[in-house]
Symmetry: C2
Subunit: 186 residues, 2 copies
DNA sequence: GAATGCAATGTAATACTATTACATTTTCTC
DNA sequence: GAGAAAATGTAATAGTATTACATTGCATTC
């Protein structure tokens, strides 16, 4: 009983339906794709929807499980292809340390335009809580500016960056004995 | 025919021997371990030696291959345990994007003391060349300072960080048509 | 509206990375 | 030397990702 969505350059019927606020974010993502001349297919929309449903980073195989329906049992490449697409278009981020994926925060925000395009260019920064596994995307641009500056000096051409800070979020830190950076390096 | 090494708090005979300059770096690493009350065993020394032998990041299973001798066929946990130890003591770094390992640059430097301990505290920064796979560790401290500042504001307790910049090194960039950050984000 | 070409998806197999659990050996401390 | 702790050996398995090739769907042109 799924009705086709009013996606401008999209394909068939999504196999999943999501709560209204998620659908809204999906529509926004679809609009962004159209704008970039990319196709937000049903498959990709489903995967993005599932990622948006999670409060925490999701693994590819978790998504694979959740994609299963009575009719279809997708294989790994299905999910990885969708993830690649979503990554390329800046709709999600990959958390390297977790081998997991989260939506780009900007998708959750109200603004429909993508003024922040540059800040999202595969150059996001994250705070990862070891305890509750929550990941927060940082809006700061200073880090990226610094990195750009360094790379300019070295004639290194930046294509993408990942900045991941692992530790304890404020909530978890208040519940546990504080453990700071534990040991000495060279 | 391997003779025991003069390691201060070490164990049995290493199964591998390395060129003099590598042995020198290994001795330095051993001294650092002793200083920290940690044991640089033959196994760990072998693994570190192999990592030092590579110009580029090495995967765990590559090391596993290289550890094989006529007598011994180590299993994965052997390598992973050694890697964990070396990581914990700041002797190597893990490049998240590559699931691979490189020596801490300071091991290669001349200074015997570890004045830079803080800068190495699981908080290194890397430039990764997509083309030649070479990884350069950056000495800069600004990025870490910025991150510390941000985290302080958010009451986030930092335990470790990774900053990975992927792109083209100066050499490779000069050989190829320049590809900058390719697409737009949200 | 058939033909063509390209993008997207389906499918099976496999490669690569990492951990668990438990037995054994080595080393340290007393 | 005995006991405890650290390190290693071993087998099995879990988790993540890719390759290669077949098929389908969509878009453009004639």
């Amino acid at each position: 009983m799924n009705m086709p969505y009013p996606t401008s350059s999209s394909t068939a019927t999504p196999t999943h339906t999501f709560p209204a606020h998620i659908e809204h974010q999906l529509d926004k993502a679809t609009a962004l794709c159209t704008q970039q001349g990319a196709r937000m297919t049903a498959q990709r929309r489903d995967v993005l929807g599932l990622i948006l449903m999670h409060a925490r980073p999701v693994g590819a195989y978790d998504l694979l499980e959740e994609l299963k329906t009575a009719e279809r049992r997708p294989a790994p490449p299905t999910v990885y292809r969708a993830l690649d697409f979503l990554l390329e278009h800046g709709l999600i981020h990959r958390i390297e340390r977790l081998s997991a994926f989260i939506p780009c925060t900007n998708l959750r925000h109200c603004s429909h335009t993508h003024e922040h395009s540059e800040a999202c260019l595969h150059t996001a920064q994250f705070l990862i809580c070891r305890d509750c596994k929550t990941v927060t995307e940082i809006a700061d641009t200073t880090v990226l500016e610094t990195l750009k500056h360094i790379c300019k000096n070295e004639n290194f051409v930046i294509q993408s960056t990942s900045v991941e800070v692992e530790g304890l979020c404020a909530d978890c830190a208040s519940k546990h004995p504080t453990k700071e950076l534990p040991h000495q390096g060279v």
